[in-house]
């Protein structure tokens, strides 16, 4: 409740063991004797399963054991005395092992050579492997080494019946045998006598869990619906009572046996309702009960759902949309969200007036405050009625939970959170509208787009959390991916094509340039040359640091030269601005630091977009038009390829085709056809590349690296190409043919998935079908891969999460065991280096 207090108690260790019957009796606050739950007034029956000595789940009632009310009382155990002992299902295997290993008469561990002390020490506690030792079950005829009694073969009939030499061992008999085992012998069986006695696995008392862990729910109709556990316990208690009555009445053995088995069944399913040999206990509706094992197990179970995974307050989720005018480390949030999420701020002498302003505004006006927390931890909601009083009451030590405002720290996240960049710290900007806004440049680490994606926002509530978030999780600290040591954040899409156009083609009047720069947040125009018109390169140079020098290459390998913060040669494209590569950005990051790099990146990004707003960028249909000459050469290439293929097919039919070594003739034919057709497609692509107009915007988009590639251009303009399924041409479908519109055994390109039209020209129906086929295949692939890789990831994360670098630079696991003497052999942190290496050559050059 009080978030700023230090942790005053810490759990040091948890030890596991089995509760003894003695302890069950001792810790129980009630003995359950009746299966009834409530009396006629709906009040819990004394000695029933809902006895209020086991805790309360109704408002208004008080726990009879501790006197606390609902939610304060954590509940107390009860117990049932079982009329006859039953086997605990989880220990059934262990019981079998022990029965086989000890003497049926004297309880000595069989086959032991008589030097117990040494063995006991050796096998002590942690070296347990009960299973290993159990492999050898004594055969009939073995004799006990101490009392010379003859032993028999013991088998288990699953789940819980034991047979010795064909005769059934009753749980009573089992228990007495287990009791004979001496404490000293337990370590030999891999058991720890301090916390475990084998006979405790045959239950004589059953602990009844508190009602608070099996609360009943009241339906709208006023009817009560009990928890699954309560149902099961009701069965146990009912059968138990019947068994008691029958035993006392001296009923025939057969009836008692039956009831006993039934009791065993109920107790077993109480612990585990998915025992293979037993029919699961069901509700009246036929749905299986969720008993103790099912509560713990699996993804939805207690451990993974509630213990390893937590839910949180102070968070928000909504649709995201782009806003490149925000800084990269900002996130725009709607006012509605800002008025729900709060930051606790402690009142001091110095900020009283500041905080009072928030209280005055209250929860309905922005920026206001929602709650005031008194030093004793009591929370007061601010409303019109309480406002006046709280304002008067406020004094140092009080905490005001005020609305979040611009500049507050938040953590922004998009699922799936596959890497640490999926959760980054952003500063708040409260904006009009109903969506979260983020700079499109940070889409890459989140893997976000704006087709309806939603993202989550968290507000850290303590000073410590805020400090950690700001220092370790801020966007600028995450610029470089720890996966490969290159920048993961950079320009994308319009920002790249915009800067490409600006630095390659444009020159604008100086006035316009000033406008442009002012609109992206630059206010110092000294560095703009004093000319009537300035070039795009000069405009771009204004953003760069004044003493920045850099030489690099464009995507196509042309030189780029920047001297003293001015572009001397070349232009900007994906190679220098983009995600992943972004070499120029990487250089700025290295020389001027992360914050500066982020700032410059933001400006470059906006500059690109602004440029496009001035210049325009349209991917027109006519951009993919080929010249007459181009069209003809593409057609010729196609015709030639078809001819070659036809000849190959003829050769094949005339048995003139020679097989490749190790291949059949059919395979050879396929390979040759595939090769010919692919070559044709590539040649057509080349023609497109040569003939298409480079000044057209579609070409600019491709050349700058903003989106698309030459192949997609060729597919639009000239020819789509061969559709391949598992590395081969299409071959399945109907008998001996792909589609029913072809002749049987037709090997020609078009009958086997060669799409000779372009997307612009349009596809024939059969081409369309072939494309759909490959499209579906890749969809299948994705759908099948996601869960597989997800599971691999979970396993990796689970087994490696404890590894850390210790103060002596070794990599150690949770128990301080050394895994690596030096991380990665040289101790280099990938996210601090350039691609994981120290670039000696570069350093030598730079020291010139």
């Amino acid at each position: 409740m009080e978030e700023n207090l230090p942790i005053y108690k810490k759990v040091k260790a948890i030890s596991f063991g089995k509760i003894s019957p003695k302890l069950i009796r001792k810790m129980a606050s009630v003995k359950i004797v009746t299966p009834e739950l409530y009396d006629r007034e709906g009040y819990p029956v004394d000695g029933g399963l809902m006895d209020i000595r086991m805790g309360v789940i109704d408002p208004g009632l008080k726990c009879k054991t501790c006197g606390s009310k609902l939610k304060e009382c954590i509940g107390h155990f009860g117990y049932v005395e079982l009329a006859r002992p039953v086997i605990h299902i989880s220990y059934a295997k262990l019981i079998l092992d022990i029965l086989r290993k000890i003497c049926r008469d004297c309880g000595v561990v069989l086959g032991e050579k008589l030097k117990p002390e040494e063995d006991a020490k050796e096998k002590k506690v942690d070296v347990l492997d009960a299973k290993k030792a159990s492999a050898r079950a004594p055969k009939t005829g073995v004799k006990c080494q101490s009392c010379n009694a003859k032993q028999f073969k013991i088998i288990i009939e699953k789940p819980t019946s034991y047979f010795e030499d064909g005769k059934r061992l009753s749980p009573i008999e089992v228990r007495t045998r287990l009791e004979r085992l001496r404490d000293d012998d337990l370590p030999k069986l891999g058991l720890n006598p301090k916390v475990f006695r084998p006979e405790w696995t045959v239950l004589t008392l059953l602990a009844i869990p508190p009602v608070t862990i099996r609360p009943s729910i009241t339906l709208e109709s006023g009817e009560r619906s009990e928890d699954d556990l309560t149902h099961k316990l009701g069965d146990i208690v009912r059968i138990n009572q019947r068994l008691f009555e029958n035993i006392n009445a001296g009923a025939p053995e057969i009836i008692i046996e039956d009831l006993w088995d039934l009791l065993q069944y109920h107790v077993t399913t109480f612990f585990d309702n998915a025992v293979p040999q037993l029919p699961p206990a069901r509700h009246r509706s036929g749905q299986p009960l969720k008993t103790i094992t099912e509560r713990i197990k699996s993804k939805e179970g207690r451990i993974r759902h509630n213990l390893a995974g937590k839910r949180t307050n102070f968070s928000a989720r909504t649709v995201i949309s782009p806003d490149s005018m925000l800084d990269l480390n900002e996130v725009g949030i709607p006012k509605q969200v800002a008025m729900k999420l709060t930051v606790p701020e402690r009142a001091t002498k110095w900020n009283m007036d500041f905080l009072k302003k928030f209280i005055e505004k209250g929860p309905k006006e922005y920026p206001g405050a929602n709650y005031v927390v008194r030093p004793d931890g009591r929370k007061k909601k601010i409303s019109d009625e309480t406002k006046e009083q709280l304002l008067e009451e406020l004094q140092p030590g009080y905490i005001v939970e005020r609305h979040i405002m611009d500049g507050d720290i938040s953590i922004f996240n998009r699922q799936p959170s596959l890497h640490r960049m999926s959760m980054m710290c952003h500063k708040i900007r409260v904006l009009p509208g109903l969506t979260f806004r983020l700079n499109p440049a940070v889409c890459a680490p989140y893997n976000a787009d704006f087709d309806g994606d939603e993202m989550n926002l968290h507000i850290p509530q303590s000073e410590e959390a805020r400090a950690e978030a700001e220092i370790l999780m801020m966007v600028h600290t995450q610029l470089i991916s720890p996966r490969y040591g290159l920048s993961i954040i950079g320009c994308n899409m319009d920002a790249i094509s915009g800067n490409y156009i600006l630095t390659k083609h444009m020159s604008i009047p100086k006035e316009e340039a000033v406008q442009l720069l002012a609109s992206i947040g630059v206010d110092d125009f000294k560095r703009l040359p004093d000319k009537e018109t300035v070039t795009g390169k000069e405009v771009f140079s204004v953003i760069l640091p004044e003493d920045f020098s850099f030489t690099g290459k464009t995507r196509e390998g042309n030189p780029v030269k920047i001297e003293k913060g001015k572009i001397k040669e070349g232009f900007m494209d994906k190679a220098n601005l983009g995600e992943g590569h972004g070499l120029m950005l990487r250089n700025i990051h290295k020389n001027y630091g992360a914050k500066e790099a982020l700032d410059i990146l933001g400006k470059i990004f906006r500059l690109g977009i602004r440029t496009l707003q001035i210049n325009g960028l349209t991917a027109a249909l006519s951009d993919t038009d080929l010249t007459q000459k181009g069209k003809e050469s593409v057609e010729k290439i196609l015709a030639d390829a078809k001819e070659v293929v036809n000849k190959l097919i003829d050769d094949y039919h005339n048995h003139k085709l020679d097989a490749f070594p190790g291949r059949s003739v059919e395979e050879t034919l396929e390979l040759k056809i595939l090769e010919t057709l692919n070559k044709a497609r590539n040649n057509a692509g080349k023609i497109v590349q040569e003939t298409v107009d480079k000044s057209k915007h579609t070409s600019i988009i491709i050349d700058s690296g903003a989106k698309g590639n030459v192949i997609s251009m060729a597919q639009m303009a000239a020819i789509v190409g061969q559709q391949a399924l598992r590395g081969k041409r299409m071959e399945k479908g109907y008998e001996d043919r792909t589609l029913s519109c072809f002749e049987k055994n037709d090997l020609s390109p078009k009958a086997r998935g060669f799409v000779e039209n372009s997307f612009k020209k349009g596809l024939t129906p059969y081409e369309f079908f072939f494309m759909s086929q490959t499209g579906r295949d890749s969809l299948m692939d994705t759908a099948l891969r996601t869960p597989k890789s997800g599971y691999l990831y979970r396993r990796l994360a689970n087994s490696m999460q404890d590894l850390k670098v210790a103060y002596d630079k070794t990599v150690r696991d949770a128990s301080e065991k050394i895994v690596q003497f030096k991380y990665g052999g040289d101790g280099i942190d990938v996210s601090k280096s350039e691609g994981g290496i120290v670039n000696v050559k570069k350093i030598i050059e730079s020291t010139r």
Partner: protein
């Protein structure tokens, strides 16, 4: 230069020193060398990991995140049918699981100097291939009247493979206690010994004859000579590293198998670790992904840490964790809890997951600091 670099011997890794030596232009002044070395040292020390860095989870993320981008396809080898290699995600899973039986075991056999020039490479390759008698058989006849089997052999092929008649007779006679074999030119005659001449026995022998192993290395089912740069190597489907390394024409320093378990048993755990790193890296590379080698090294180190291969599964590494709750939170929680109760295990809460469960600071990152006060 050497005298200047001496001062940096303990400060810089050998690899970086070598790189400085290699790349520094000849005959530069020692002050320049010092300047270079200082700059390298600065760069090196500024990129060191910080204590507490949770390198494990970073590596897990680095391998897990691109998993979604890998393909599921197997990759077919050009040349020989039936020879393909598991690649992509399935291969990564296979390696990390520490599977004993991998889907496509294969070797790359490098040859020693006179043999790797390409001369007779086909013959060498064929001699390695495990062959069964059926490959040399043209026809098998059972003569019921005389109660014998007549096997027509392909003598040309036998000669090529260098198999002597005696060897065949020896292996055939091993088939059944009471049979004798004889070879006349190209036919192998198998007769039953003794009086108890049973037709059924003959039929049994006939079935067995085809699958008798006669030559080559066991386990090598396919061979493919390939030119790699300026030497010839042999790629095989199926592995038997131990026997291959014993052959005198094999370069035992370069020959590799892709079966990590086999490497572990033949060459030891350190070799297995390196093989694992190489294999994972190879897959990542062919997928066009970019993952720093350090992450792969860390994963391999975790797997090989105990001196034997422990896969990243509930039976492998996870079962070796000291903490009950950490094991229970992974898979099969009930089993772990029950076993813990039997031996009274104590969970010291040293690892991450238990502390998450208990809402306590975790012992990695900023959580490794401890503040003592009196």
């Amino acid at each position: 230069m050497e005298s200047t670099l001496k001062n940096y011997k303990d400060k810089l890794p050998i690899k970086l020193l070598d790189e400085i030596r290699e790349n520094t232009p000849k005959g530069v002044s020692s002050s320049r060398v010092k300047k270079i070395a200082d700059a390298v040292l600065e760069e090196f020390s500024s990129s060191q990991v910080e204590p507490g860095e949770s390198v494990g989870i970073v590596s897990a993320e680095s391998l897990g995140e691109p998993g979604t981008q890998m393909t599921l396809n197997t990759f077919h080898f050009a040349g020989v049918a039936e020879m393909n290699v598991t690649m992509g995600l399935p291969r990564i899973i296979e390696i990390l699981d520490g599977r004993k039986k991998i889907a496509t075991p294969m070797m790359e056999i490098y040859l020693k100097s006179p043999y790797n020039k390409g001369k007779d490479i086909k013959k060498i390759a064929e001699s390695i291939k495990e062959s069964e008698l059926k490959e040399f058989i043209i026809e098998v006849d059972i003569n019921i009247a005389e109660i014998n089997i007549d096997v027509k052999l392909n003598t040309a092929k036998l000669k090529e493979a260098g198999i002597k008649d005696q060897e065949i007779i020896k292996v055939v006679e091993k088939l059944s206690k009471n049979c004798t074999a004889k070879i006349n030119d190209s036919s192998l005659l198998i007769k039953l010994k003794g009086k108890d001449q049973n037709i059924n026995e003959l039929y049994k022998i006939k079935e067995k004859i085809k699958s008798i192993y006669i030559s080559g290395i066991k386990g090598v089912s396919q061979v493919l000579p390939v030119r790699r740069e300026d030497e010839f190597i042999i790629i095989t489907a199926g592995t038997n590293l131990k026997d291959i390394l014993e052959l005198e024409f094999v370069d035992d320093k370069k020959t590799v198998s892709n079966d990590i378990y086999e490497i572990e048993s033949v060459l030891g755990i350190e070799a297995a670790r390196q093989a694992m790193i190489n294999e994972i890296f190879k897959v990542i590379e062919t997928q066009g992904l970019n993952i720093d080698i350090r992450h792969i090294m860390l994963v391999s180190d975790v797997i090989c840490n105990l001196g034997k291969i422990k896969g990243i599964t509930r039976y492998g590494i996870v079962s070796e964790k000291p903490s009950v709750l950490a094991r229970a939170s992974f898979e099969t929680p009930i089993r772990h809890l029950i076993n813990a109760s039997m031996i009274g295990e104590v969970d010291e809460l040293n690892s991450v997951i238990e502390n998450v469960m208990l809402n306590q600071p975790i012992p990695v990152g900023t959580g490794i600091m401890k503040l003592y006060s009196k």
